[in-house]
């Protein structure tokens, strides 16, 4: 390989393929990517600090707003953590409602992703079609919770709204329509030649690499690794609901499309089962405002993969420390591996292949890599530094 012809191509923070600001520096030899340097942190929102400044009740709303797409996954993870600190169990009906909302959210997130993936490879018609059909799920959300995106269903000790008996037939009807459409899209993804040309064999991530680099969610499952928090460490009512963990062994972008399409179909089955076998009863229990001292790690299978929340409490109404590890961060090392050796033209679809959500992921720390030194700056120090320029 000649080293004289290597050029550096920056990708982002402003780029049409990235909906959020993030920078990747590619070293390109002709059309082949030889090195990738991700630079994260453009979208730091100070969310963990914000958690420490608010009460546990206020934090539900903050957790909801970590991500616009998987808002329910974050609140589930948060409430689960606090419930464990409080040592209480949500009522059975609440657990089933959580499953239904989580799976509806998975459908809406995956459908959004399929549309974006189609747009990245220039297939705008599929993009428009999928997003049109995704409206069905959003309408169902509106019926259940009054909101399309931030449903605000979860609360510590249960859920805030019930799914009434009258809603169930409407949900089932919406799902029947979606199932038919999704089967069609699955067929399109498997047979349409231009899609196959652009996605089959692109962005290869070997199973061993996927495990070594801690890939999560559909990205990991598309490399043939059977790993799903819902099955491995069941939360909500997943231990009572039968379902399959979808895996594909293609290790490429096509497998990631297929895994997500089939997961949507599986979600439909889960919702059908859950709404049939939902037990009667209360949907929430009263909880104290002060949380006893303790530490907890809570895991949830968000649409994008394993989501981890960590909470530390100190007998007050506010958490002492809160940490959110969103699935996108887990997938970044694997993403860099996928991009290596690929074509420049494949960068957008491979990048989109992990379903990145940079705004949820970005945290910031001051690090001097040469001296391996870390430090913290106060707001005043930051202001002083940047007011000069």
């Amino acid at each position: 390989m000649s080293h004289g012809s290597i050029i550096k191509v920056p990708f982002g923070p402003q780029h049409p393929a990235l909906k959020e600001p993030e920078n990747f520096l590619f070293e390109v030899d002709g059309e082949i990517v030889v090195d990738v340097k991700p630079r994260l942190g453009y979208n730091h929102r100070g969310i963990e600090k914000a958690f420490e400044l608010r009460t546990y009740i206020q934090n539900i709303y903050l957790a909801e707003r970590i991500c616009g797409i998987c808002s329910d996954a974050h609140t589930t993870c948060y409430t689960q953590a606090i419930e464990e600190l409080l040592n209480l169990e949500p009522p059975p009906r609440a657990r089933y409602i959580r499953v239904i909302i989580a799976e509806l959210e998975r459908i809406h997130s995956h459908a959004l992703w399929v549309g974006i993936a189609a747009h990245e490879i220039g297939f705008d018609t599929l993009f428009m079609y999928v997003w049109r059909d995704r409206e069905t799920v959003l309408d169902l959300f509106e019926m259940i919770s009054g909101n399309r995106i931030h449903y605000a269903m979860n609360t510590i000790g249960g859920v805030r709204r019930d799914i009434h008996a009258a809603m169930v037939p409407k949900i089932i009807k919406g799902l029947d329509f979606l199932e038919e459409r999704l089967k069609y899209y699955l067929n399109v993804a498997q047979t349409e030649q231009t899609i196959l040309k652009r996605t089959a064999g692109v962005g290869i991530l070997k199973p061993k690499d996927a495990v070594d680099l801690c890939a999560v969610g559909p990205t990991l499952r598309a490399s043939g690794v059977n790993n799903d928090v819902r099955a491995d460490d069941p939360y909500a009512a997943y231990d009572e609901i039968p379902f399959n963990v979808i895996t594909h062994s293609g290790c490429d972008v096509l497998s990631r499309i297929l895994v997500r399409c089939e997961e949507m179909l599986e979600s439909i089955k889960i919702i059908r089962y859950a709404s049939d076998s939902m037990p009667e009863g209360i949907i929430r229990v009263q909880v104290p405002t002060k949380v006893p001292q303790g530490e907890v790690v809570s895991r949830v299978e968000a649409p994008r993969g394993e989501l981890i929340h960590y909470a530390k409490s100190n007998e007050t109404t506010k958490p002492e420390r809160y940490k959110v590890r969103s699935p996108t961060l887990g997938n970044i090392p694997a993403l860099c591996k996928m991009l290596l050796g690929g074509y420049v033209a494949d960068i957008p679809i491979v990048l989109a292949g992990i379903d990145p959500c940079f705004a949820c992921m970005d945290r910031m720390a001051f690090v001097d890599t040469k001296k391996t030194k870390k430090w913290v700056w106060t707001m005043q120090q930051l202001r002083r530094k940047y007011a000069k320029k």
């Binding site: 428009m128 074509y343 494949d346």
Partner: protein
């Protein structure tokens, strides 16, 4: 005998003036420049509206009835926008490129018969001129991208040229097939021959298909929109253009669409033909609208290829098929 020199001169001058004015009007107004501009805006609307309907959207809706004035509104809006010339760019080329890009398709449209079976400018060999000018358009695109001195523009213009290497030869080959059938290198003659015999789409369906695919590549439409692939290289070779220059580029693009549909019509669908009482211009408009819709439908139905896939596909499949078409014509099939 009875006429004196002055009167004759006056007569001739009068006649000449009237003729000049008529031909000037023909070139400038109908069926020349202004008519073609109107057609360009209209076909952009047809393209956008049909594309939107295929995708189950509304498309242009508010400006004019069913949004038919939207392309014109976009054009006027762009004219009023700030026109930025990057400091690093090659200024002369950067300014001239949009003008050439607009002028070339417009000039090419003059040799295509619209009003009757003879075009405004018809000469034996205008067919070669069309093929030559198609290459010039790509050269203009290359210069436009190259002179912008922008990463994305450079990649876009390189892709445009690479793409041309793929589709130009099959396109040249199959269109020569129509000239062989009509035994003329003039588009007007090819149209005339079709009105006396059959439409060439019936005789050379393979040629029609290959020509349409090549036009998709020529117009940079999906699946061959690599030079402007939005998610990969922003706006490709057009990235740095703004304001008036971008307006001209857009209008040039629309004229190219008119040109492409007019070529499909003239070479394969019988062109501007008289049907009983229907005048040729009407049949021409109907056929070109059909051609535009065909191109739109195709661009809605695929994902984008990669440049290597596009090139190898063109050389592996389209070129042999185009050769096959010529062989079939030589064997007496399709003429």
């Amino acid at each position: 005998m009875g006429l004196d020199y002055a009167t004759v001169k006056e007569e001739i001058c009068k006649k000449m003036t009237v003729e000049t004015i008529v031909s000037m009007l023909k070139i400038l107004v109908f069926p020349g420049a202004i008519f073609l501009f109107v057609l360009a805006f209209f076909y952009e609307w047809v393209d956008r509206k049909f594309f939107a309907r295929v995708q189950n959207r509304y498309g242009p809706l508010y400006t004019g009835p069913s949004g038919v004035l939207q392309p014109l509104a976009d054009f006027l809006k762009l004219l009023s926008k700030e026109d930025i010339t990057p400091r690093a760019s090659d200024k002369l080329m950067f300014i001239l490129a949009p003008i050439f890009f607009l002028a070339l398709p417009l000039t090419m449209l003059f040799v295509i018969p619209i009003l009757s079976q003879t075009s405004l400018v018809a000469f034996e060999g205008d067919f070669i001129f069309i093929l030559f000018a198609f290459t010039l358009i790509i050269m203009t695109i290359f210069l436009a991208g190259w002179s912008s001195i922008n990463r994305f523009s450079t990649i876009g213009s390189m892709r445009a040229v690479l793409q041309m290497l793929g589709y130009e030869i099959p396109m040249g080959l199959v269109t020569v097939g129509t000239a062989i059938a009509a035994k003329s290198l003039s588009i007007s003659r090819i149209v005339e021959w079709q009105s006396l015999n059959f439409w060439l789409i019936l005789l050379q369906p393979l040629g029609f298909a290959i020509f349409t695919i090549c036009l998709l590549a020529e117009l940079h439409l999906v699946p061959f929109d690599l030079p402007e692939a939005e998610t990969e290289i922003v706006a490709g070779w057009r990235t740095e253009f703004s304001g008036r220059k971008l307006a001209l580029l857009r209008l040039g693009k629309d004229l190219e669409l008119v040109l492409a549909s007019a070529l499909i019509t003239s070479l394969y669908l019988g062109g501007a033909q008289q049907f009983w009482l229907i005048p040729p211009i009407v049949t021409f408009l109907v056929k070109t609208t059909f051609a535009v819709m065909l191109l739109t439908l195709l661009r809605a139905a695929f994902a984008r290829f990669r440049i290597d896939q596009m090139l190898s596909g063109m050389w592996k499949y389209l070129l042999p098929l185009a050769t096959l078409q010529i062989i079939l014509i030589q064997l007496g099939l399709g003429r």
